[in-house]
Symmetry: C2
Amino acid sequence: MTVEHENFARKRRQTREVRIGKVPVGGESPVCLQSMTSTYTHDIDATVAQITRLAAAGCDVVRVAVPDRKDTAALPEIIRQSPIPVIADVHFRYQRALEAVAAGAHKIRLNPGNIKDRRQVNEVIRACRDAGIPIRVGVNEGSVVERQDRAVRASEQEQLARGRDHNLVQLMIRKLEEYIRIFEENDFADVVLAAKSPDPVVVIEAYRAISQRFDYPLHLGVTHAGPPETGRVRSIAALATLLAEGIGDTIRISYAADPIHEVEDGKELLCSLKLRCRTEPELIACPTCGRIEVDLFKLVTEVRHKLATIRAPIKVAVMGCVVNGPGEAEGADVAVFAGKGRGVIYVQGEQVRTVTEAEMLDALYEEAVAFAERVKRGEARLSGDEVAINPPKAKPRP
Amino acid sequence: MTVEHENFARKRRQTREVRIGKVPVGGESPVCLQSMTSTYTHDIDATVAQITRLAAAGCDVVRVAVPDRKDTAALPEIIRQSPIPVIADVHFRYQRALEAVAAGAHKIRLNPGNIKDRRQVNEVIRACRDAGIPIRVGVNEGSVVERQDRAVRASEQEQLARGRDHNLVQLMIRKLEEYIRIFEENDFADVVLAAKSPDPVVVIEAYRAISQRFDYPLHLGVTHAGPPETGRVRSIAALATLLAEGIGDTIRISYAADPIHEVEDGKELLCSLKLRCRTEPELIACPTCGRIEVDLFKLVTEVRHKLATIRAPIKVAVMGCVVNGPGEAEGADVAVFAGKGRGVIYVQGEQVRTVTEAEMLDALYEEAVAFAERVKRGEARLSGDEVAINPPKAKPRP
């Protein structure tokens, strides 16, 4: 994996390491990006096809639901064809877990709360220990908080909201601790913890509390976040906040849409926080305003699609006004500063061409391809590799 | 404004208060959501139409660019028709600022770095003081960091990345301090500060540093974040992290698309972090997986559109499997738990109807409308108003 630790990584909370197949999670490992298939697992071709797409988009490990015997029966072939490790998501029936372990699953997700017979849970733990694979132990607000626990009301709005979230978090952690004891009684420490809620504030507070109590690696996620338009914001808000605090060893963004978008958003989040190296072009652009003299939305969309063929983390800027345009254009590897009817193309801060509006897209793309080639040949360095070192001349005032 | 402080708000960093027209920013005020028009400001009808849409979507104040005399000439009429306060974005020409103040603008955005004559900056400050309006003083990485400052290179990758970001932040803060001194020398404290970059990590580190040095209110933003697909993630990642740390008094999310989306995302972010009360339905939904037995994406999209007519912050759940479905359905105000060919409709945790798949959408909508009406008449309370109080039976283990 082309992943590295920078700023935030340095402050990451120390956890134990587990391994999901070839992918380490926790410890010194980079934050692992995961998703879940939305196909029927017993449909091997559809499932493998979706996993392959998710992997190509940057997904490190993938989870599949195995509600039925026919789903676990499909697992060996899915695992054989999958380019990334496969996690079996088990609920209610412990046999599915045993079958998944036997099928070669790289990790089991288990909610001990919905397998009522403790001996069955113990049997799954033994099977995972024998196979040397970890178990994710998760609680979801929806599955642990009983209706009656929600019943008491308070009068004062502000106290109430604070109290509600705080109490939900306490209920979730109590349940999680109960589950963890089962694993500890079995001397099984190969676990990853999760505590999800649809409420980003509950998620943030729950993981903060858990990270102070346990050193197991943490799987972050906002569950049932909703449609993509709002679910994306809820997921990113909670996960970014936690990751920036050094909390989180593997993440899943989830909302009601094709999981490929979850992976794209997750990858962008990790790259944005410098918890993962970019391997593809980074596009920056004006948001546009009343100063703009060109159809920038259209140009940005076209540039984005064109750049998708380039496999190098070059920084490309599409700027449309004189306020920040020249500065951003100079700071990028390749840029266009688009004015009325013409555009100036920059490469590493130097103006290299002036072209007509109609030529801008192709000219920018040509220079981007050429620059990426020069980087590959070692003839140029990325702007992100440069450092502003001129030391402050005066000490900043306190 | 229907905005309140809860969890995070309690930890918010204390700042001075300024007023943008009727909207307070900083101090005890709720986080203010702003956007910027993408129309030509001199096109009064188009600009007012866009402002009206942005305001209806939840935008508290709006910024317009005034590059030319004809733009400031349009300001009085725009301000007269605008339902929200209007900020004039000024660059290069101090006359535009003076004209905007005379036109009744509620705030001026000024970058003293691009008005070279100090006497001109002083004149704008005097005009704003006389008019009693604040000035936003901003630095952008692109406009303050000179090419030569980016030149020196380091050998070790990790040190380098750390050094680069750190040095960029130092350069930005040095420049901002230089600007602030101009205002302090004029005894003008009615300022809002901003320090933007396209890099979320630079934004986070810059605002953290600024919040420790100054008590002026802060305007948060990631600039030139790019196309919506990636720009949204970059903006939310930085702003959520800062807001969760109590930093930020007004926010703008910006990316290259219709600003209505910026406002929608910004509102969802503030609601997600409980820095703003919801006034509309909150939709939670399964992300779907191999357990699902219904076309949930389609149902969620349809439900989302139907709910848009309801003006009450009811919590609606669309769930598709037995793992978390019943729990989430019980926790919501109105819910459908959709299985093969049929759906169970819940209202406040009680199963009220079982309907066919074809009837689910209408049945859910009917119950949602009816419930919202009961809330308005004071006959029902929102689930979000309830508290889980059952006290922990055992003290959580340390």
